[in-house]
């Protein structure tokens, strides 16, 4: 709530040169490479990519959810509201996680504790962080369930997660994320497990919540349809790295990276009749053996000889729009 009213131009969250590596017996897995992101207060940003592209790993690393051990190496700078998160003690980090940033994980059923009532889980953060009494928590839990549109909220507090339907569970999980009025809500594939009508309801809910609370929203998805529904800005990831980022409209109307173009062509559209949906040939590279040069060159229709050897970095193609394709000018010249 506070963020919406605050007159402050500095971004809420900035991530620079974030990399996440896991040491496994099969070699080093580079889940995220040189990831960057900036989110303004109240803004909504989508991170798009295929499974394994590092979307979730990047966000988990931002929240410092990976255990600190020799098998995980995380580098980069993450600043939340001007504070470098890496410098915080575990205790201070827990405060940020509870109060300011919330993460809604992918699968609502396995993300809720099967042995605890929904009412308890909804307000656990309030008990821990604010030391609220049981009665006060109960009131807030009813409010939260009302907020996410669960009918007869008061009677459902004593129920357990398995007693809710898939869509309702997703709402409960969203409500747990909202308990402390976070400034930033990160939703990881919030609609993937749901059928289409429920998907639309959940997206509508997230939009409404953003309007009501003024929180910033990061939505992690592989679905360009979801992106179009909810995001103001889009970051496209491929094989652990950002390949394109820009405003939602720019990305949809004038993509400047062959991978983004491929993703867009794979979306069914009512204004285009096609026998088959286009798909991107091949499959994403394994994280243990990333291709040299531009990582997308193995699947790129426009690939040139030197794409396999020269690494591609993000270049500004227009104000607020960046692409990691070295030949964006040639490939997308006059494409609009």
């Amino acid at each position: 709530m506070t963020s919406a009213t605050r007159e402050n131009d500095s971004p809420l969250l900035t991530v620079e040169q974030l990399s996440v590596e896991f040491m496994t017996p099969l070699g080093t897995v580079a889940a995220v490479n040189d990831f960057g992101l900036s989110i303004g207060r109240g803004e909504s940003v989508a991170i798009v990519g295929e499974s394994g592209s590092g979307k979730s790993a990047a966000m988990r690393a931002v929240l410092r959810l990976y255990p600190e051990n020799r098998r995980t190496r995380i580098r980069g700078a993450v600043a939340f509201d001007g504070v470098q998160l890496a410098t915080l003690s575990n205790r201070r980090m827990r405060e940020i996680r509870g109060d300011r940033m919330a993460l809604i994980a992918q699968d609502a059923l396995s993300s809720l504790n099967p042995s605890l009532t929904v009412g308890y889980q909804l307000t656990e953060a309030l008990r821990i962080r604010k030391g609220w009494s049981a009665g006060r928590c109960r009131k807030r839990a009813v409010e939260l369930l009302d907020l996410v549109g669960i009918p007869s909220a008061a009677e459902r507090l004593k129920d357990y997660p398995h007693q809710f339907s898939g869509g309702m569970r997703q709402r409960v999980l969203i409500a747990t994320g909202l308990a402390l009025d976070p400034d930033l809500l990160i939703a990881d594939e919030p609609t993937t497990a749901l059928d289409v009508t429920i998907q639309a309801q959940i997206l509508q809910l997230l939009r409404d919540l953003r309007q009501e609370t003024g929180m910033a929203l990061v939505i992690i998805t592989h679905d360009m349809g979801v992106v179009a529904e909810i995001a103001e800005r889009v970051t496209v990831m491929y094989a652990g790295a950002v390949v394109e980022s820009g405003g939602m409209r720019d990305i949809f109307t004038s993509p400047r990276h062959p991978y983004t173009e491929g993703l867009l062509n794979a979306v069914p559209r009512s204004d285009r009749r096609a026998e088959r949906l286009a798909s991107i040939p091949g499959s994403p590279p394994s994280p243990t053996t990333r291709p040299s040069g531009c990582r997308f060159h193995t699947r790129c229709a426009y690939a040139r000889a030197d794409c396999a050897s020269v690494p591609a970095g993000l270049e500004i193609v227009a104000p607020g729009h960046a692409s990691a394709c070295r030949y964006w000018k040639e490939n997308f010249h006059g494409a609009d």
Binding site: S110, S111, L116
Partner: protein, 306 residues
């Protein structure tokens, strides 16, 4: 819930009935007890008289029904050697077994659950390897041997604790530790495996994203779920302890049900042996029902699944 309880009690009664029948048949098959009770040179008339006295001269079926009828009233007959009833004999030894069972089970839970949990949290670490090694050793060492070893070291050489008897807490230490060594491997390993299953669950991370401390994450979120299978194992272990730990009780001369069983078998006191078997069956049935009730209380998914 009530339906389930009724079902379990019915199953329990069936188990007890089965145990009664089986012991009856086995005892009758084991031959004529008069040969063991009377001296070798007893006359045929003396034997017949004893048979009539013990009631084993009647047809088998009528013996069976009067035995069942007696059991239903709590009367399991009289010991051959002691004029008191079987129930009285068993009840005399029962408190000792109950004390030892409670002490050793509490000790096992207090040692195995935290160690299993820590081993899982530091998987592959030093503690994990030590716990696993101790579990393997504990599983392979027979109780009578570990018991003798404990006696040798702590009672004989160091003289810290008494070698046998039931005098005070000190005499309870060695038998409890010995039983703990026997129960520890399964409980520690199950706890470890179960915690390892729960740790990667997304709801554990959900708790972390709420800002919960690691201690809270482990107790409220991980152990609450991870201990559900451990609870079931605990029920079985506690039930078997209440049935009398034959080897440990014998080694430490602990006057419990296990010692009574060994003693009664060696002198062919069939009614007492029968009584012990029935008692063990009843205990198991009761412990099973209680474990089921506890599991339901702890696991909400079981409650609505019926």
């Amino acid at each position: 819930m009530r339906k389930l309880l009724v079902k379990h009690i019915a199953i329990g009664l069936l188990v007890v009935f089965g145990a009664l029948t089986l012991t009856f048949v086995l005892v009758r098959m084991s031959g004529d007890p008069t040969g063991l009770i009377l001296p070798q040179d007893a006359s045929a008339a003396q034997r017949a008289q004893l048979r009539a006295q013990l009631g084993i001269d009647k047809p088998l079926l009528s013996q069976y029904f009067s035995y069942l009828g007696g059991a239903a009233r709590g009367d399991l007959g009289k010991s051959y050697f002691d004029s008191s009833s079987v129930s009285a004999v068993v009840l005399r030894y029962l408190p000792n077994t109950a004390i030892l069972a409670a002490a050793s089970f509490a000790l096992t839970v207090l040692v195995a659950v935290p160690l299993g949990t820590l081993a899982a949290m530091r998987r592959g670490g030093v503690l994990d390897r030590v716990v696993q090694a101790v579990a393997v050793v504990g599983n392979s060492v027979p109780s009578f041997w570990s018991g003798l070893l404990l006696l040798q070291v702590f009672a004989v050489t160091l003289g810290w604790l008494p070698t046998f008897g039931t005098a005070g807490v000190a005499s309870l230490v060695l038998p409890s530790v010995n039983l703990m060594l026997y129960l520890f491997p399964n409980m520690a390993r199950l706890t470890r495996a179960s915690v390892l299953n729960v740790l990667p669950m997304p709801y554990v991370d959900t708790a972390r994203t709420k800002g919960a401390s690691e201690g809270r994450v482990m107790t409220v979120h991980v152990l609450r779920n991870a201990l559900l299978p451990v609870l079931a194992l605990g029920g079985v272990q506690f039930g078997s302890l209440l049935g009398g730990a034959v080897l440990t009780e014998t080694v430490f001369a602990w006057p419990g049900v296990g010692t009574l069983a060994v003693h009664s078998i060696s002198r062919s006191d069939f009614p007492v042996v029968q009584g012990i078997v029935v008692y063990v069956a009843v205990i198991f049935a009761v412990v099973t029902v209680l474990t089921e009730v506890l599991a339901r209380a702890a696991n909400p998914r079981l409650r609505t699944a019926v």
